[in-house]
């Protein structure tokens, strides 16, 4: 044995890099990597020299200049005197709003359709197939434009609500106005509100009322949790579980309700003022069309993922659950879905990412997302194509990475714990 380990070491010679199979693979990879890096460096250098030659050296100073344009939908204070950076931020928030709304819609509808597609009822199953094939086989841009056209052309203009005998009236006891400029819904108002709290040195404001409300809700949930723990303890000690549900409901709902009452909560209803409705919350057409199109389009893919997930759970599980006497919907909720989720979640993540990226089609309906502000008007007014596009790509990358991080974390928490 010892003789074997003492074979004289072959001295290393340069040509072994090429002829010795032990090194060749590494050599090739290093050479390829160097080539790639040289190519990238050449591209970047070429770009920078050409930009300099054009008199447009790379720089991000333009972001602090006044933007000069208005944006209709903004969650935080913004005027045409704000900076391009702030405009980009407003756009980013708008992107996130429609992405979150869209993902929620896609999930709910997709889950429903996916389950119904497996229905034993022939008509229901066929209808769901039509839904899925219809939505996923038409480009999402067409759906966006289609929903917008429908909203604009079929709904009444605000002027139709005017006069003694108007052509259109508000719905739900006069609290909601559905117009071709969007839907106006009542807004929460506080008669004795606490005002706003500046965040990050006045960069934006957060409603103090909202914070107090959330805190009270949180406190209620905490108390409810304590009651449950106490009930658990008593049950473990005595075998009898005290009836606590009414206390728990009370502890969750009472604090927020008391806070609402103290803040003087009331609803502000939209009403016709001048050209448009004033008051209330204005959900613009562009948002609704984009939301519906992205959500329903993606729901078709989600439905297929859900169906695949459910079908991946073996039939024996259902039969076993039935044998235990579980009713079909409890079988679905308690046995099938928890197992199916493990199959469903990874492809669901990529659908969420797709939806977020598809939201950059927003400009087709004039929704001011980040592609519309930073990658649209700002880019156009300042001529900083490269900088804007780089920032834009970074934003989408950041959003996508965050979404997949969160979803992966969730996936890890539901996946089979193997030992």
């Amino acid at each position: 044995m010892s003789a074997l380990s003492e074979t004289p070491k072959e001295s290393f010679r340069l040509r072994m890099l090429l002829y010795d199979t032990r090194y060749r693979a590494i050599t090739i990879q290093i050479v390829a990597l160097m080539g790639f890096m040289l190519f990238a460096a050449w591209l970047i250098n070429n770009m920078l020299t050409n930009l300099a030659e054009l008199g447009k050296p790379l720089g991000f100073g333009f972001l602090t200049e006044t933007s000069g344009y208005d944006i209709n939908q903004s969650l935080i204070e913004y005027t045409s005197q704000s900076s391009h950076l702030r405009a980009a931020f407003i756009g980013l928030m708008n992107t996130l709003i429609v992405a979150v709304l869209g993902c929620a819609l896609a999930t709910v509808v997709g889950l429903l359709i996916g389950i119904l597609r497996l229905s034993k009822n022939w008509i229901v199953a066929r209808l769901m197939t039509i839904w899925i094939e219809g939505f996923r086989n038409v480009p999402v841009l067409l759906w966006i434009v289609f929903f917008m056209a429908v909203l604009i052309e079929t709904l009444p203009a605000p002027s139709a609500f005017r006069g003694d005998d108007p052509d259109a009236t508000m719905n739900l006891f006069g609290s909601i106005a559905v117009t071709n400029r969007g839907v106006y819904i009542p807004e929460p108002l506080f008669a004795s509100g606490l005002g706003d709290i500046p965040v990050l040195g006045g960069l934006f404001y957060v409603s103090a009322d909202l914070i107090v409300l959330l805190l009270s809700l949180f406190a209620g949930l905490l108390v409810s949790g304590l009651i449950r723990n106490r009930a658990d303890r008593i049950q473990e000690a005595t075998g009898d579980r005290p009836r606590t549900w009414h206390w728990r409901i009370l502890s969750v709902f009472a604090p927020p309700l008391i806070v609402l009452w103290m803040l003087g909560f009331h609803l502000g209803y939209p009403e016709l003022k001048g050209f448009n409705f004033g008051g209330g919350i204005h959900m613009r057409n562009s948002l609704i069309a984009l939301w519906l199109a992205l959500g329903l389009y993606t729901s078709a893919f989600v439905a297929e993922i859900v169906r695949a997930g459910i079908e991946s759970v073996s039939k024996g599980q259902t039969e076993a659950a039935f044998a235990l006497g579980l009713r079909p919907n409890r079988t679905m909720n308690l046995v099938i879905l928890p197992q199916a989720l493990r199959v469903i979640i990874p492809p669901l993540i990529s659908q969420y990412l797709n939806l977020t990226k598809n939201s950059s089609l927003a400009i087709a309906v004039g929704y001011m997302d980040i592609t519309g502000t930073l990658g649209g008007i700002t880019m156009n007014q300042t001529g900083r194509e490269l900088e804007c596009v780089l920032l834009l790509m970074m934003c989408y990358l950041a959003i996508s990475l965050t979404v997949s991080m969160v979803m992966n974390w969730y996936n890890n928490s539901v996946k089979l714990k193997e030992r």
Partner: protein, 338 residues
């Protein structure tokens, strides 16, 4: 998505190509045609006719340039651009020149690095509203929903105007004129604002143009003209002097009908120089001697182009106004041809 990201990437790729070759005139000659950026469709200024041939006032400038270079007004390919894509298209070298109701501003000239080669229409921003609204002045538009094309000067003027007058408005950003029309006609916005010439051209395509009024206020100066990239002065000169030639031709009474006759020689030295019977001006420009004759024959002189496409006898019905020759009290004043 990705349209603008994609365009951006193209720009980067294009910047490399664009900057490397500065001799646009040679490139155009080698290609055999001129690539001209126009609108996506604005009747009277640039729109395809029933046969798919582009025609209009801005298109006329492109054709004149093509005729000056090749002697053939059809040696031109048109690229429809939106307010947003036009500058990227020009900067990247995708088009050789842009003639798309584009306002000459400091930023576009100096910061965006373009060279405006003259002004072919002196305009200003206005507002159009349905007559039934009963609005008679822009000052009454507080709270209105305004349709507006993104990536335009219009957008910035609008913000300034409403802020200066302490009024609020709801902007509805839109990419092309036809989408704006759709929203405006469906009453999804109360007001459409853009250059007054654009408003008139848009209104002319409505079923009932008389139901819409253009408000009296003009809230900005919009000198519209063709432009090229910074840095290629020879090419800039070609486009500039073709436009000037059309203006001078009108001033001197040279029309598409009599240009052949006058090109045989006249007793007016400026006409002779312009039409190539005196001096070698075409050669200095890098073109042949008949360049101006061909440019004028392409669609007529400035006045002919105006009357044919947007003048008072067309549905658009624009009066010459500021765009009359200086001799008639307008602003058109081409530098002397000598």
């Amino acid at each position: 998505m990705k349209k603008s990201v994609f365009l951006g990437a193209l720009t980067v790729a294009g910047l490399a190509a664009g900057a490397a070759s500065a001799a646009t005139l040679d490139d155009v000659k080698a290609k055999g045609f001129l690539q001209c950026g126009v609108t996506t469709g604005l009747t009277g200024f640039a729109a395809p006719d029933a046969n798919g041939e582009w025609e209009g006032f801005d298109v006329g400038v492109c054709r004149a340039v093509a005729a000056a270079i090749f002697g053939d007004p059809t040696a031109v390919k048109f690229t429809p651009t939106t307010g947003k894509t036009r500058f990227t298209a020009l900067a990247s070298g995708e088009i050789d020149m842009l003639a798309r109701n584009t306002t000459w501003t400091f930023t576009r000239d100096v910061d965006l690095k373009f060279e405006f080669t003259g002004i072919n229409y002196y305009d200003g921003q206005g507002f159009m509203v349905p007559k039934e609204l009963g609005v008679t002045s822009a000052k009454e538009l507080d709270g209105a929903t305004v349709c507006i094309q993104t990536g335009t000067t219009t957008e910035l003027n609008l913000a300034d105007y409403f802020r200066a007058n302490n009024m609020s408005y709801e902007p509805v950003p839109i990419e092309t004129n036809s989408e704006a029309q759709q929203q405006y006609l469906a009453n999804a916005c109360d007001v459409y604002t853009t250059d007054r010439s654009g408003l008139a051209a848009t209104r002319a395509t409505f079923e009932n143009p008389a139901d819409h009024v253009i408000l009296p206020e003009t809230i900005s100066k919009e000198p519209l003209g063709p432009l090229v990239r910074h840095g290629d002065h020879e090419w800039g000169d070609v486009v500039r002097w073709v436009l000037n030639a059309l203006i001078i031709a009108e001033e001197k009474g040279v029309t598409s009908a009599n240009v052949d006759e006058l090109a045989k020689g006249t007793d007016n030295p400026e006409i002779n120089r312009l039409l190539g019977t005196e001096g070698s001006y075409g050669e200095i420009l890098g073109l042949d001697a008949a360049w101006a004759v061909n440019a004028i024959k392409a669609g007529g002189n400035y006045g002919e182009l105006f009357e044919k496409h947007i003048g008072e006898n067309t549905p658009i019905g624009l009066a010459r106004g500021l765009n009359a020759q200086w001799t008639d009290g307008g602003l058109l004043y081409a530098p002397p041809f000598r």
